[in-house]
């Protein structure tokens, strides 16, 4: 069941579009903000609310990189692995993050604190390598800087 709060937030998006289904991405992001991911059950509820079929909505959900269909940790670390960051050493960033967090990309720590994911170009190529942590951009990364940043995310 969608919570009254979730329903209200989704309804607030509706007037901006002539068709209900146009808000489906917003709706899934709303659910994800409240619950961390879009579970099968949430997907069903959103589809019903927007008068779409479940499969139709799932085809949208699985298309977009930022909709999580599986549970993620409290903090999501997304390191850029596109070309400018690759030239500037994103492999080192990935290796250091993997070592520090004990994770391969796509995994979540057993205490559900961190999930590590690759992400495409974050549009900060002049400050490469970069990453996003909980939707905030961090630039000019090196191992020491990463250690300092991670300390703030318990």
């Amino acid at each position: 069941m969608l919570t009254p709060e979730e329903r209200q937030e989704i309804e607030a998006e509706l007037p901006r579009y002539p068709k209900k289904r146009a808000v489906c991405i917003d709706a899934m992001k709303i659910v994800q903000r409240h619950r961390g991911c879009v579970s099968d059950e949430s997907l069903h509820d959103v589809a019903e609310f927007l008068e779409m079929s479940r499969d139709e909505l799932d085809s949208v959900a699985t298309f977009y990189n930022l909709i999580f269909r599986k549970p993620v940790g409290r903090h999501v670390v997304m390191f850029c692995d596109s070309v400018s960051c690759w030239i500037m050493g994103c492999d080192r960033v990935r290796e250091h993050l993997s070592e520090r967090l004990g994770l391969q990309p796509g995994e979540t720590t057993p205490d559900k604190r961190f999930t590590l994911l690759p992400i495409v170009c974050l549009g900060a190529c002049d400050r490469a390598p970069v990453m996003m942590l909980d939707w905030e951009l961090f630039q000019d990364l090196d191992p020491r800087k990463i250690d300092v940043i991670l300390e703030n995310y318990k």
Binding site: R16, Y17, P18, K19, R21, A22, V23, C24, I25, D26, M28, K29, S59, V60, F63, Y64, N65, L66, I67, D81, S82, V83, S84, W86, I87, M88, I119, V120, C121, L122, G123, A124, C125, D126, R127, A128, M132, W135, E136, L137
Partner: protein, 425 residues
């Protein structure tokens, strides 16, 4: 003579946003006031005369694009104007700066474009990762609504224009014009067949114009100062200034607003400070990941649509990615094709199948498992994925860096095969 920088004059080095008051005190919302007193066709005509070409990569003349939209009392309603802020071309970081640093400039450009094509509704389509830009655009929209610049009876003109922010959820295909329209309608961002073109049948089947952020940010200045002034900003017949960028191992990576047609050498050597100490220049992608490599022979060409095309590449987004002599060109291609294979929407077979094949062969080369026949296969795939064979421009763009790497860095490919390893590792 100091260069004029209309697009970035309000943008501070720390990218602190320009609010409504600061924007207006520096000449902001003057162009739109002028435009609203001018007939729509005349606004379109001024933009046509300015020789502004789209800054998203394709370089289509903006005024011409607008002129295909049906106008007048009989035209279908509502009509839409959409700003493409799905900047996801690897190596590109110009639209983010414009949206974060001066969101009102974009809003003003959109209101003028809306007036020209008689659009009722606008959307700013923003990629989900641009969270700071989202906050700043939201705030700027609220300020503009509050001031009566958006909504009903804008600027007391009797015209109405609603403008909304749509935050997407991450996928390269959303940057493709028709993929973006599907995404806005709440669908997978697969491309649509053209024709019909969006100008006649776009969002929900209504006339729609989609423009890149940088393109729209040029509009207020063209209307305020005129087409002749705009043309004079440029070193070439393509009008205006251009945001140029450089990333990779140069001394000072960054973004600069310079006259359109500034040479690659000036951008690379004067603005980016040349290569980092101990490194030599080997080549660059002039305008993002989906453009052909250029090499030392090309440094004196002017970075505009026509000149870069003559040199065998594309201006693209104008943000160059620089390859140095200690970075493996085959590894770079492998990274690029992995990206394109991953971001292919899967709609047409040559793209999803061809690109993943290419990406796998490049990965094998890097792992020392390359075979001589790979080179023939690369050549075949780059022809097979050329324009006209796929639904949209993703695959043809994707093979541009590869086809040119095969030309300029063939020895490096051969070494990977002969030595059964990546010589840079």
């Amino acid at each position: 003579m100091p260069t004029e920088t209309p697009l970035t004059k309000n943008i501070r080095p720390d990218l602190a946003p320009t609010d409504l008051k600061a924007y207006e005190s520096n000449g902001g919302y003057r162009g739109v006031r002028k435009a609203l007193k001018t007939a729509p066709a005349e606004v379109t005509n001024t933009v046509k005369q300015s020789n502004l070409r789209g800054r998203g990569g394709a370089g289509f003349p903006t005024g011409s694009k607008w002129s295909f939209v049906p106008v007048g009392k009989e035209s279908p309603r509502p009509k839409y104007i959409v700003a493409n802020g799905d900047e996801m071309e690897p190596g590109t970081f110009k639209d983010r700066v414009l949206m974060e640093g001066d969101p009102h400039q974009l809003i003003e450009g959109m209101i003028i474009a809306a007036h020209a094509i008689e659009a009722d509704i606008g959307y700013i389509f923003l990629r989900g990762e641009y969270t700071l830009a989202a906050k700043r655009i939201q705030k700027a929209l609220a300020e503009s609504y509050e001031a009566g610049y958006l909504g009903k009876n804008i600027f007391g003109s009797g015209e109405h224009f609603e403008l909304y922010l749509h935050i997407s959820a991450g996928r390269y295909m959303c940057g493709e014009e028709t993929g973006l329209l599907n995404a806005l309608e709440g669908k997978r961002a697969n491309p649509r067949a053209k024709p019909p073109f969006p100008q006649s049948s776009g969002l929900w089947g209504k006339p729609t114009v989609v423009q890149n952020i940088e393109t729209l940010c040029n509009i207020p200045h063209i209307i305020s100062n005129g087409a002749e002034w705009y043309k004079k900003l440029s070193h070439t017949p393509n009008g205006g200034t251009k945001l140029y960028g450089a990333s990779g191992k140069v001394k000072r990576p960054g973004l600069w607003e310079l006259p359109m047609g500034t040479t690659i050498r000036e951008i690379l050597e004067e603005h980016a400070g040349g290569m980092q100490d101990g490194l030599k220049f080997r080549g660059l992608l002039p305008g993002g990941a989906s453009t052909d490599f250029l090499i030392e022979d090309h440094l004196d060409i002017k970075m505009d649509f026509d000149e870069v095309q003559k040199a065998g590449s594309r201006l693209g987004t104008g943000t160059m990615i620089v390859l140095d002599d200690k970075t493996c060109p085959v590894g770079m291609c492998s990274n690029l094709e992995h990206f394109f294979a991953q971001e292919s929407c899967g709609w047409c077979t040559p793209c999803w199948s061809g690109l993943s094949w290419v990406a796998q062969m490049l990965e094998a080369l890097e792992a020392g498992e390359g075979k001589p026949e790979f080179l023939e296969q690369f050549a075949f795939q780059t022809r097979f994925l050329a324009p006209g064979n796929t639904f949209c421009a993703l695959a043809p763009g994707a093979v541009e860096p590869l086809q040119s790497a095969l030309k300029y860095f063939r020895g490096d490919f051969n070494r990977h095969i002969q030595e059964k390893r990546c010589p840079w590792r």
